[in-house]
Amino acid sequence: MTAWRRFTRNRLAVVGLALIVVLALSAVLAPWLAPYDPTRQSLVEKRSKPGGKYWLGADEFGRDILSRVIYGSRVALLVGVLSVLIALAGGLVLGTMSGFFGGWLDAVLMRGIEILLAFPYLLLALAIVAAMGTGALNTTIAVGVWGIPTVTRMVRGSVLALRETEYVGAARALGAATPALLRRHILPNVIPGLVVYATLFMANAILLEAALSFLGLGVQPPTASWGLMVSTGRDVLLVAPHVATVPGIAIMVAVLAFNLVGDGLRDALDPRMRGSA
């Protein structure tokens, strides 16, 4: 059975994929889908309850929450995808160098990675944002850099294993140059494992962006970021709990979707892992 067949037989994974398609569509079509301008304020209608004119209610400034949730998917997906790319690019380069060339380069790189992994979750990203300042771009960089150590370790592990395989040895014996060896024989076998990781990392990247924005250290107002929306709703929790809770559901659905697809991909690409973890 092909991997794709195995993937589609996993109902939860298909649900996840469908949710990702919806998210992507809402990000691309935001200007046509959103009923109102996400930054348009209407102070007389502030904190409107869900239902009525505003389907999901209005926030502290009378902005339509549904429109802001739709526009927020742009921030979440854009920051997510770009930070995944940063993590993958950085991790691929460092991990391949470390695993393929070994020696002192490997030793130095691995000690560096160990140090970065000694930062408890979130703290490395916090330190980067603290130094570089807030904003969507810096948040993306912080989230991406946060992912580099793990990707590096994964890539290094697979490159080390592949380097010793017979077909790589054979290619080398036939005179393949290092770049060709890497491109033709090693990287194509590293990538599939990374696809699973990238999907699961995407879920974490969305969570991390939301967390940084919630703390006020990520995407800045008036941009519609889900984490930021939850943070604004915090001040009116008692009188209008929907302002904080609705955008949180959007975060949860997006993260859930990528987790489901990531789990499904892992099971489909590596049937031995099925049912575990």
Binding site: P120, L122, L126, A127, A130, F214, G227, T245
Partner: protein, 307 residues
């Protein structure tokens, strides 16, 4: 045993030195003048010069780094610019609250996660199993700060059972600890389920069953004991997750711990305080994982202490 502990602690030293290096370097790479950013545009020349001198900013980065490390080795973490107090005093005030919160969350997560995971593995594909697996998917996907707010709305504002925030009594601890524990419950129950399922397929479990050992003892003496090693590793890694989560949970619940102190330090651009706080978190993370490594030997006599 002692030599193993000492060796592992010595190995942690370069890692911690590296952590300080990374944090100082990120701050150093900061565009613009750090002092002006800290004191604001309208600071007097005198104040700027004083702070520059205090931070030693006229010296090269490496000299400053070595000086800082030397001071830290003597227990001097510098002075917080914002609070005008020694950083060590600020950290000493804050860490017990964070310890209380993370330990409570870790215990809660371990107990709930292991119980749910074992139950799932013992009755695989049952209704409970499906429920637990679905629950753990949601647990992993909910942003922790949002879970905290939802719990506040339900239990503090609607039901009026528990306080909204702050610290002081056991009732103050309940909501933050549950909030912080939830993602870890999800991780631990998934991992436990997989580990127990694996062990239950082993020959020695079949042998134990064949010789008439009761199902309770099969689980307790054979399955769980062996499944514990991967679970323990995960607990060590989860402690890092919990410390990061503590930053968010403490912010949501106004819990007076290290995480909130750190966020305040970032907003105040109090980098000396920030460095100290990060150092404490990294140290705690290293020590916890050392403890995890040590406990392997207790669970599995085959694992030697040569490390």
């Amino acid at each position: 045993m002692l030599t193993f502990v000492v060796r592992r602690l010595l190995l942690a030293v370069p890692v911690l030195l590296g952590v300080v290096f990374v944090v100082m370097l990120t701050v150093d790479l900061l565009p613009g003048d750090a002092v002006t950013l800290m004191l604001g545009e309208h600071a007097t020349q005198d104040a700027v010069a004083k702070l520059r001198d205090h931070l030693g900013l006229d010296k090269p980065f490496l000299v400053r780094y070595l000086e800082y490390v030397g001071r830290v080795a003597r227990g001097d973490l510098g002075r917080s610019i914002q609070q005008n107090r020694p950083v060590a005093a600020e950290l000493a005030d804050a860490w017990p609250a964070t310890l209380q919160l993370t330990v409570a969350a870790l215990v809660l997560a371990a107990v709930a996660g292991i119980v749910a995971g074992v139950a799932s593995a013992v009755w695989p594909n049952s209704f409970f199993d499906a429920l637990a697996r679905l629950g753990s998917l949601f647990g992993l996907s909910m942003p922790i700060f949002w879970t905290g707010l939802v719990l506040i709305v339900v239990f503090s504002l609607w039901l009026n059972w528990l306080p909204v925030g702050g610290a002081g009594s056991l009732t103050h601890l309940v909501l933050p600890a549950v909030t912080l524990a939830l993602p870890s419950v999800a991780m631990i129950s998934r991992m436990t389920r997989a580990a127990v399922l694996d062990v239950l397929r082993e020959d020695y479990v079949r042998t134990a069953r064949a010789k008439g050992v009761g199902e309770f003892w099969v689980l307790g003496r054979h399955a769980l004991r062996n499944a514990f090693i991967p679970i323990l590793t995960l607990l060590g890694l989860q402690s890092g997750q919990l410390m990061g989560g503590a930053v968010l949970t403490e912010t949501v619940f106004a819990w007076p711990g290290l995480g909130r102190l750190m966020v305040k330090a970032i907003f105040a651009r109090d980098y000396i305080l920030l460095q100290g706080a990060v150092l404490v978190f990294a140290l705690a993370f290293v020590v916890i994982n050392l403890l995890v490594d040590l406990s392997y030997g207790l669970l599995d006599p085959r694992i030697g202490r040569q490390g």
